[in-house]
């Protein structure tokens, strides 16, 4: 079985966002970059599949040279091969998906795994667009997955519950928190990852369909009211919510 995982590199969740000088992206100064947290669930799912069914694993990323860190993290966890489609351009989800689809067409995997969204632009698009461009089905926001005799059954999150979804292979799956517990790379894995080669490719598509006009910080709120310091403040809080904020 051929298993592909697509990963991206994003600012850590503790990042305090500052707007960059172009007014359209964040200021990268002082920002720590990590593999997209949802992609770790995808990497873990790939490794578990390989361990159960045997096969080969490959990780692909589209972006800057620094995305190699996300690929290396995947190597350290146990992924065997890596490809970086290297570009400094700010590509939108459709363009990233086109580049991924062009690489994946050659590899022809049975399963392609993605994180359900990257926590920078929060688009939740790349996995499913890639699948559609490849002409294969996609199952998104998956919290449970079994693959058996050419068929996949997934549990995916919906509002207030779960859907049990079935599909044939090849298929694309986007991983949600809860699918598994990503393993920590061991020392051997980390050492091996250092010397493992990453194949670099040129982007095949660089045209965006969406254009970011500006980025701004949300309006800061005026400082709120501390109603009190113990239980005696409760009736006043309830009154304020009803009469001042009018939300109850």
């Amino acid at each position: 079985m051929k298993i592909a995982v697509c990963v991206s590199q994003v600012p850590d969740t503790t990042t305090k966002v500052k707007i960059g000088s172009d007014g359209k992206t964040i200021d990268p100064a002082g920002v720590t970059y990590i593999i997209n947290p949802y992609d770790e669930f995808a990497v873990e799912a790939a490794l578990q599949l390989k361990e159960k069914q045997s096969g080969e694993t490959i990780v692909i990323s589209v972006g800057k040279d620094s995305n190699k860190e996300a690929i290396k993290k995947s190597f350290a966890m146990g992924i065997e091969k890596g490809i970086l489609v290297k570009t400094d351009a700010e590509l939108d989800s459709y363009a990233v998906a086109r580049n991924l689809a062009d690489v994946l067409k050659e590899i022809n995997p049975d399963i392609i795994l993605f994180g359900k969204q990257s926590i920078d632009y929060d688009d939740s698009q790349v996995g499913q667009i890639t699948a559609e461009l490849l002409g294969i089905p996609s199952i998104s926001v998956v919290v449970g997955m079994t693959v058996e005799s050419g068929k996949i059954t997934c549990e995916r999150e919906i509002e207030g519950g779960k859907e049990v979804v079935e599909s044939t292979l090849p298929v694309s799956v986007t991983a949600q928190r809860g699918l598994n517990n990503p393993r920590y790379p061991n020392l051997k894995g980390i050492m091996a990852a250092k010397s493992r080669p990453i194949e670099e490719r040129q982007p095949t598509y660089t045209e965006n369909k969406t254009e970011i006009l500006s980025m701004k910080l949300p309006k800061s709120k005026p400082k709120g009211k501390i109603v009190g310091e113990d239980v005696s403040a409760v009736p006043e809080l309830v009154r304020l919510l009803r009469e001042e904020a009018k939300v109850i």
Partner: protein, 325 residues
Amino acid sequence: MAKILAFIESRDNKLKNSGYETASTAVRLGNELGAEVEALMIGSSVSGIASELGSYGIKKVLLAEEPKFEKYSTTAYSKIVADVCRMQAADVLIISATAMGKDMAPPLSAKLEAGLVSDCTEIRTVGGNIIATRPVYAGKALIDVKVSSAIKIFALRPNVFKPVKVDGITSAIEKVNTGISDEDFIVQVKEVVVSDEKQDVTEANIVVSGGRGLKGPENFHLVEDLAKVLGGAAGASRAIVDAGWRPHSEQVGQTGKTVSPSLYIAIGISGAIQHLAGMSSSKCIVAINKDKDAPIFQIADYGIVGDALEIVPALTEEFKKVLSN
């Protein structure tokens, strides 16, 4: 701009709130752009509810109604929407960013070679162009986005856009012949498991969330009791989800769910930046925390500094009292 198509979601042959929001927003954009607006519904028995859309200004509803459309299928539904979009020569598609909408919009982007703006929280027209605002970095920043492709797709975050009732419009209903065959159901929903009728935090108008300040999972019922009295949903901080007190489906924050209810009550949550990212767009925020320097008080509209275990039961009782009057 010639035509706007609004995909109106239903589940179990009922319209969802987000459906009215989508309809009203499409109608408003249509008025601003001088564009025709049509709605599309898919389901097994939705003609009854389709006519309700007239009250929100929709003059024409296209209906893909067949028994096999009872359950959602990514492949079948996205094919229908793409086909109708082409057939009607629509150049703007408005959809809800619900679980279904988020699943269906990206395949539509690929099928229609259309730029897609996910999770819009504002949408306006400037000189005949649509500009959408959406949160990025889980709400730590906002971007204004324009779409340059011929067909443009905007997915609207639920619970943000206001449904607006309009008098004197009856929607004409037109059945669509979809030509969908069994092969189009490659991805098929076999079963929908509803988690004990609880409201999802993303859909609730009031969310009550608990964190470490509850001291142990055995006290989480205080959060649930308060949520129940207020008719809201219970949420959780990442700390207590990581600690295994609560399922990840309840987690609010950057790696959990992003919510924007009318009222958000944070109980024993200090307000780590990744949590604030997921809830700071709530209209009114109440914080109950024993640490007066907790970051949550920086964004709260109202706060009580104190022990959650004492204050929350009193708050639940007080709400019970005033709401029963």
